[in-house]
Symmetry: C2
Subunit: 240 residues, 2 copies
DNA sequence: GTGTACCCCACCATAATTGGGGAGTTGGAA
DNA sequence: TTCCAACTCCCCAATTATGGTGGGGTACAC
C-alpha cells in the first residue's frame, strides 16, 4: 500500500457533482483506486433492513451481511453507533464469538483485515458509516489512517450529504407548525408528565389540555399521543 | 473582512491539544482572530436549559438567548436541527415575528448580520452547533463561506469531539442499550401503533409486550410509555 | 367585519394503559 | 455447570387516555 496525499479537492468535487447513486458508486471506486485500498464503502444504516449504500464490497458479502443480523452483531456498526470520532477496527470490541465469526467470514469475502470507519449522523436519527479497508500490517495502516483521517471525515460528510439528497423521502413531511401551547404540551408530555401534570404545570384545565393535544395530533397526522410526541421530536418541533 | 487561507493544521492541532473547556474557549477566540470574524461559537444544544458551549458571544447575549426560549424561537437552532449540511443564516426561515425580533436583538448584542452554522450530531442524539458570524455584505460572506466551508466542517467536528471528551457524563451509561424486542416495541409505538397492534405485529401476547415496554421504560429511566419513546428517539436508540 | 387561529372551560361514556403480583424457556457467557 | 439476560405467558384492579359534543373569549389579517 502506498500512502498518497490525496487531491482532496478533486475527490470532493467529483462527489459534489454526482447526480445519482451510481455517481457515488463510481466515486467510491475511484477513491478505492486512488488510495490503493481494498475497499471503500458508504453504508446508510437503517433499522428497516438494509437498503442504501454503495461501495466496493462484493454483492455476496453485502447480502450475507444482511442475513447475519449485522445491525446487532457487527462491532463496526454497534461500535460506531456509540462513538462520535472515526474508529480503527482494531479498537472495537471483538470479544463476542459472533463478532469474530463475522470478521472471519468478511475476510473470506475479500474484506481486508484492517479497517477504519467514520460514523455519520443526520437529522431524524439518520445514521451511516463510511469505511475504508485494506489488507496490510498494523503499522502501515496506522500511517495511512493518521495521514488521511481528516480527509476521510470530509469525504464521509460529502457522501452522506449526497445520499440525503438522493433519498429525500426519508426526511420529508413539511410539518405544520404547532402553536406555542401545543409545543408546551408536547414538550411536557415528552419529558414524562401525565396529562394531569401537564395541565397543572401549564395552569390550565385538563380538558383544555386535551384540546391542545388533539389539535397537535391532528396537525402532526398522529394516531395517538405517543405518536404525536414522536413525530414532534423527529421533526424537530420540540427538543427534549 | 479579509479572506485568509487558514493554516488548518495548526488550528486543528491546537484544538486537539485542548485539555479543558477553557482550551476550547481560547481556540475559538484564536479562530475568531485568525479569520477576522465577529464571532466563533460552539454550542451544545440541550433541552435541559443551556449549559455547554464556548465562544465569543457576549455573556449578556448568551443569557438573553437562554431566557428567550431560543430552542423554539431561533431559526438557527431549529433549522439546523432538520439539516445535515452547514447552512447560511440567510437561507433559514425568518418569517416569524419572534425570529426577526431575535435577530435584531442579537445584532444589538454585537452578533454579526451574517452567519454560517454547522450542525453536528453525536451518539445518543447529541446535537451541537458550530457557528461563525460577521458583519459584512452578502457577497463577501459568500466568498468567505465557500472558501472555508470544508475547513469549518472539520473544525466543527473537532470542537464536538473535544466537547464530548470533556463532558462524558452526558452520553455514557446514561443510555443503557435496549434489547431487540424492546427496540421493536418502542419503534412500533413511536409510529403510532397501539399496544394491541404492536403485540399483534410482533406476534406476541399483549402481556408479553407489556413486559418489554416496562423493561424499556426502566432502562431509559422513563416515567411512562410516551416518555420512554421520546427518550429512545432522542438518544437515537430507535429511528422513525 | 368576517374569517381564522389561538386560548380557555365543561360533560358524557368507552377504550386503553399501567402497576402490582408470578412462572417458565432458551442461549450465550463466565 | 451455573448464571444471567432475554423472551414468552397470565390475572386483577386502578388509573389514564380518548372520542364525541358543546360553550366562551381574544387578537390579527384580509
Amino acid at each position: 500500500m502506498v500512502v498518497i496525499s490525496p487531491k482532496l479537492d478533486h475527490i470532493l468535487e467529483a462527489l459534489e457533482q454526482a447526480a445519482t447513486l451510481e455517481g457515488l458508486q463510481t466515486a467510491s471506486e475511484a477513491l478505492c483506486a486512488h488510495y490503493e485500498l481494498a475497499h471503500v464503502v458508504y453504508h446508510w444504516v437503517d433499522s428497516a433492513g438494509d437498503q442504501y449504500g454503495c461501495g466496493t464490497y462484493s454483492v455476496a458479502w453485502q447480502e450475507r451481511h444482511l442475513d447475519q443480523n449485522y445491525l446487532r452483531t457487527d462491532p463496526v456498526v454497534s461500535g460506531c453507533y456509540q462513538r462520535f470520532h472515526p474508529v480503527d477496527w482494531k479498537r472495537l470490541d471483538w470479544s463476542s464469538k459472533a463478532a469474530r465469526a463475522l470478521l472471519l467470514e468478511a475476510i473470506e469475502h475479500g474484506v481486508g483485515n484492517q479497517g477504519f470507519t467514520v460514523p455519520i449522523r443526520g437529522p431524524n436519527g439518520q445514521f451511516a458509516l463510511f469505511t475504508v479497508n485494506n489488507t496490510c500490517s498494523d503499522s502501515e495502516w496506522q500511517v495511512f489512517t493518521e495521514a488521511n483521517r481528516r480527509d476521510l471525515i470530509l469525504i464521509a460528510h460529502y457522501f452522506n450529504q449526497k445520499a440525503l439528497e438522493f433519498e429525500p423521502g426519508r426526511t420529508p413531511e413539511t410539518s405544520q407548525a404547532l402553536s406555542p401551547r401545543e409545543i408546551d404540551a408536547m414538550t411536557l408530555l415528552a419529558i414524562g408528565y401525565s396529562r394531569a401534570q401537564v395541565a397543572n404545570t401549564l395552569s390550565i384545565s385538563e380538558h383544555t389540555l386535551r384540546v391542545y393535544i388533539e389539535s397537535a395530533r391532528f396537525k402532526l397526522g398522529a394516531l395517538n399521543t405517543t405518536h404525536a410526541v414522536a413525530r414532534a421530536l423527529s421533526r424537530g418541533l420540540i427538543v427534549v
